[in-house]
């Protein structure tokens, strides 16, 4: 880690100013410190957000939930209102890393963690290029994107929580020097051009909270394809949020993670599902539709199948069927 300054503001205004003045936000630090040690990112000043009031708060009401960005994953995983009303989300918090990560890691940190791409982590940047050619395309891309690969960025989103938040239509509350803005969680992310960041936050902006609309009339499920039972990364995550009347799916949102540089919403799958039941055949068809437009790279065709299976199993879960864990 390079030499750096450290500041612990007590108000959001102070924090914004410190960040706008060349600061990097520090929350749980579980990702940031590793990035700094690897020199994958540099920071001259860390602005520790943990002293800010109210950012760890959690509240639940008839409208839904409001979760402060500094709420710890471990606390969220056992938050009673979530466990009762949105168990899929509680368990997605519970499946992040191991206990040591969840005890330090925060909701905001999970949303804003940087891609795991090994070229990025080795300091080659998010869109690594050598001799004018994509290092990912020519190199080892077994864990890279299978969707959105017509762009220059080929890394995948790391979070296993974000697909569900996007599917739930969660909104981010962002505090900046100009005031507060709100944006769908999905819009925090972009497929960057060379030199850009993948996160859609301006200097001085702080993610302060996430608001999740009440989903008590929805069916919610996620499925992560995670090879290891111990600390391991998901190879594909699918989250589904369905509004049904009787057995008929009226509306759905199906969002994938770890398959594209941004959370990947599959409208094709949503359309395939609309107006019918969650019968095994229809589930299979929707999952197939989800990957119809996949464009894998040289080494990751298998991930197309993982994406399909993740969607299929998430939908089976939504239908109340047992799926292999």
């Amino acid at each position: 880690m390079r030499p750096l300054e450290y500041a612990r503001p007590e108000t959001l205004e102070q924090a914004s100013e410190l960040l706008a003045d060349g600061g990097t936000p520090l929350a749980g630090g579980t990702d940031l410190l590793a990035l700094l040690k690897d020199d994958a990112v540099t920071a001259s000043r860390l602005v520790d957000l943990k002293g800010l009031p109210g950012l760890e708060d959690f509240s639940a009401g008839p409208e839904g939930f409001r979760i402060g960005a500094l709420a710890r994953l471990a606390d969220l995983a056992r938050e009673k209102a979530l466990v009762d009303r949105l168990p899929a989300l509680a368990s997605s918090f519970d499946s992040v890393g191991g206990p040591q990560i969840r005890n330090r890691g925060t909701l905001g940190g999970n949303l804003l963690q940087r891609p795991r791409c090994w070229y990025f982590r080795r300091g080659f940047g998010l869109v690594p290029v050598r001799d004018g050619r994509s290092m990912v395309r020519e190199g080892d891309n077994r864990f890279h994107a299978v969707f959105g690969t017509d762009g220059e960025a080929l890394f995948v989103t790391p979070s296993t929580v974000v697909p569900l938040l996007v599917a739930l239509g969660a909104e981010a509350e962002i505090h900046g020097r100009e005031g507060v803005r709100r944006a769908p969680v999905a819009e925090l992310y972009r497929s960057p051009d060379p030199g850009e960041r993948e996160l859609h936050l301006e200097p001085g902006e702080i993610l302060t909270a996430v608001e999740i609309p009440d989903a008590s009339d929805r069916t919610v499920a996620s499925y992560e394809v995670r090879p290891g039972e111990s600390l391991d990364w998901s190879l594909a995550t699918a989250s589904v949020v369905l509004r049904r009347s009787g057995a008929t799916v009226r509306e759905s949102r199906i969002v994938l993670g770890q398959v594209a540089p941004t959370p990947w919403r599959s409208r094709a799958a949503e359309e395939a599902l609309a107006g019918g039941s969650l019968s095994p055949d229809r589930v299979r068809a929707a999952a197939q539709a989800a990957v119809a437009e996949a464009e894998p790279l040289s080494m990751n065709e298998y991930k197309v199948q993982l994406a399909r299976v993740a969607v299929e199993r998430a939908l089976h879960r939504a239908a109340g069927r047992e799926v292999p864990s």
């Binding site: 880690m1 390079r2 030499p3 750096l4 300054e5 450290y6 500041a7 612990r8 503001p9 007590e10 205004e13 102070q14 100013e17 410190l18 003045d21 520090l26 630090g29 579980t30 410190l33 590793a34 700094l36 040690k37 690897d38 001259s44 000043r45 860390l46 520790d48 943990k50 471990a74 890393g97 191991g98 206990p99 040591q100 990560i101 005890n103 330090r104 039972e229 111990s230 600390l231």
Partner: protein, 215 residues
Amino acid sequence: MSRDDRDPPRGWTRRDFLRSGAVAGVAGSFLAHPLAGNQQESKPKRVAGVEVLGPGPVPVALRVNGETYRLRLEPRVTLLDALRDRIGLTGSKKVCDQGTCGACTVLLDGEPAYACSVLALEVGDATIETVEAIGDPESLHPLQTAFVEADAQQCGFCTPGFVVATKALLDRDPKPSPERISEALAGNFCRCGTYGGIRTALTGPAGPGKETDHG
């Protein structure tokens, strides 16, 4: 009680040093070997009304295993490096330094955390417990006795991390289910292959079985 960030003098073990009351006297002679003597302290600086520390060494007090250590550290120094290199508590091991292996696991306010993934400056207000607080070789904690009996260590480099992670689990749940054990140990890795022994230490009264060992 407070302690200074200085090495023990030649011929003293760290333990003697920590037990000694005459810290100032013996430590004085040791200044001949300043650990970070050339690091310029940064001038105090405020931005937006907030004190900005560093990048040079700044004072920090850490409450570790019931004692307060007053150190001067650069902000970039991790809790793990502060524990190992400055305080001399080397039971927490440095393996990956990336928050992925568990060998540096300590308890922050009673909860397991990776000491390599926390800056020392971040945890000045926390209660920090390292493996050294759990038991001594001469007076083992029952959990440690179970580890020894079940031969839940080989090279032993991951073992302190497993002991701390396990202690955190058992403090919350004295009779954990196999699933809970697996979850609680998901953030710790062993290279020699001691998981069978650890399982026995946590689930059985005795060590590995006589002929057939259901590890």
